[in-house]
């Protein structure tokens, strides 16, 4: 039992890595996903096709395949990044593809009449996006985006398979030393559950709050 307590610190560090990976991926993918989401909604046809191709391919393969491909394949292009960076990149690609779809859905759900009314008073493209489209698209974007954030946290557990010592790998290493798999897996489950359940509750509250704002 004392073993387990001393291992707590190890698990704590693993949790920290999980949070680190998740936050990095969330920030990177939010920026990239929103940018590409705007382009795929309003951009020229070749760009739209390219982005949709990217998004469909990434979302059509398992996250694990993406992680393995980036981790094992990247060194071959001369880029020798450590496993942490490769894993973050792979997860970020996956999350970006998800956010592109969420953003596209949110932007396209805005009635074209809003764009016309905004054009009619002389607003430029950037002004239309900033003052008319985005404020309305936001409430259609946030709940699904928060869900994608929980997907990132769950997906981060897979980075343990390329040697990143996140919570998942930390748990396994502690099990390797203490031989008590069940309590440790349950503890891990509890931690992941707490994080994600909080997030998904937030998403539900937002959805409920936005629902009463009539069109």
């Amino acid at each position: 039992m004392a073993d387990i307590f001393s291992s707590m610190q190890f698990l704590w560090r693993g949790l920290f890595v999980t949070v680190e990976v998740s936050l990095l991926v969330i920030c990177l993918s939010l920026v990239a996903g929103l940018l590409l989401g705007v382009v795929v909604t309003y951009g020229p046809l070749p760009a739209r096709l390219a982005i949709r191709l990217f998004s469909d391919v990434i979302r059509g393969i398992p996250i694990l395949v993406l992680i393995f491909f980036v981790y094992y394949g990247l060194p071959l292009t001369g880029l020798n990044l450590n496993n942490f960076v490769s894993a973050v990149m792979a997860l970020a690609l996956f999350s970006t593809a998800q956010i592109i779809e969420i953003a596209r859905g949110a932007l396209q759900s805005i009635h074209h009449g809003q764009t016309e009314a905004a054009k009619a008073i002389g607003l430029t493209f950037a002004q239309r996006l900033l003052y008319v489209i985005f404020p309305q698209a936001l409430r259609r974007f946030l709940p699904p985006w928060i869900n994608s954030v929980t997907d990132v946290v769950k997906g981060s557990a897979l980075v343990s398979l390329v040697g990143v010592v996140d919570l998942m790998l930390a748990i396994q290493q502690v099990i390797g030393r203490t031989y008590v798999p069940l309590p440790l897996y349950l503890l891990g489950a509890l931690i992941y559950f707490s994080i994600n359940y909080t997030l998904s509750s937030l998403s539900r509250i937002l959805e409920a709050r936005y629902a009463y704002i009539r069109e």
Binding site: G60, I63, L64, V65, V153, L161, P181, Y185, I195, N196
Partner: protein
């Protein structure tokens, strides 16, 4: 940057990939069938039983949906045998895990599906004197299935992709096959250049077949 593409080694070991793909599909299929049984049963229980059952079912659903699949896989394979004197192989363990996993998502799908059955249909069924069980079997379930068919298709495709996690237990599905070839031939680019389209094309074929199937049963 000296890397010469050599697909020959891939083709030599292609059975690992082709049979892996078959196994992935089997795993997904078995899991969704069991998952549908679990999901349907729990969805019906949810609406007919009291607060205790509903809380338990919600607990199950929320637990599964918020915990990474890989953790569940380890939990079932390594954790449970320490509790119960049960021995099972990796494949069985994964199927159990994925079934329970899919069941949680399917409970939600079936719950909303049942709720989406138009009240008018149920009233009409009552009006012609059908018992609750008959209404369920002949009106509500058939209607619900037509409504949830798109969600079922998407769930199946997701499960198909989730079977890649079985590779951590050395279950010889497609991702495991890819990694095996990767480790034994170092042909990383080639193998994933083959495996990526395999996942994509299979996904699209499943989607296409299910869309055709849906068209047969379209809800007006």
């Amino acid at each position: 940057m000296l890397y010469h593409l050599n697909f020959g080694l891939i083709w030599k070991n292609f059975p690992k990939l082709s049979w892996g793909l078959v196994l992935s599909l089997e795993l997904a299929l078995i899991s969704i069938v069991i998952g549908v049984i679990i999901g349907l049963a729990l969805a019906l229980l949810y609406e007919s039983r009291g607060r205790v059952s509903r809380t338990l079912i919600t607990l199950y659903v929320e637990f599964i949906r918020n915990v990474p699949l890989i953790l569940l896989v380890y939990l079932v394979f390594y954790g449970i045998p320490t509790l119960v004197d049960l021995r099972y192989d990796a494949t069985t363990s994964f199927i159990v895990t994925l079934s329970v996993y899919s069941g949680a998502y399917l409970v939600e799908i079936f719950r909303t599906g049942l709720a989406a059955v138009p009240r008018g249909l149920i009233d009409a069924a009552k009006a012609i004197g059908l018992t609750p069980l008959q209404r369920l079997l002949y009106v509500r379930l058939p209607t619900m299935f037509r409504i949830v068919l798109p969600s079922l298709s998407n769930t199946f495709i997701s499960l198909f992709k989730d079977t890649s996690v079985a590779s951590v237990l050395a279950v010889p599905e497609l991702t495991y096959g890819a990694q095996w070839i990767n480790f034994n031939t170092f042909r990383i680019i080639e193998v994933y250049a083959i495996v990526t389209p395999m996942y994509l094309v299979t996904g699209y074929i499943i989607l296409g077949c299910l869309r055709l199937f849906e068209r047969q049963f379209k809800v007006r």
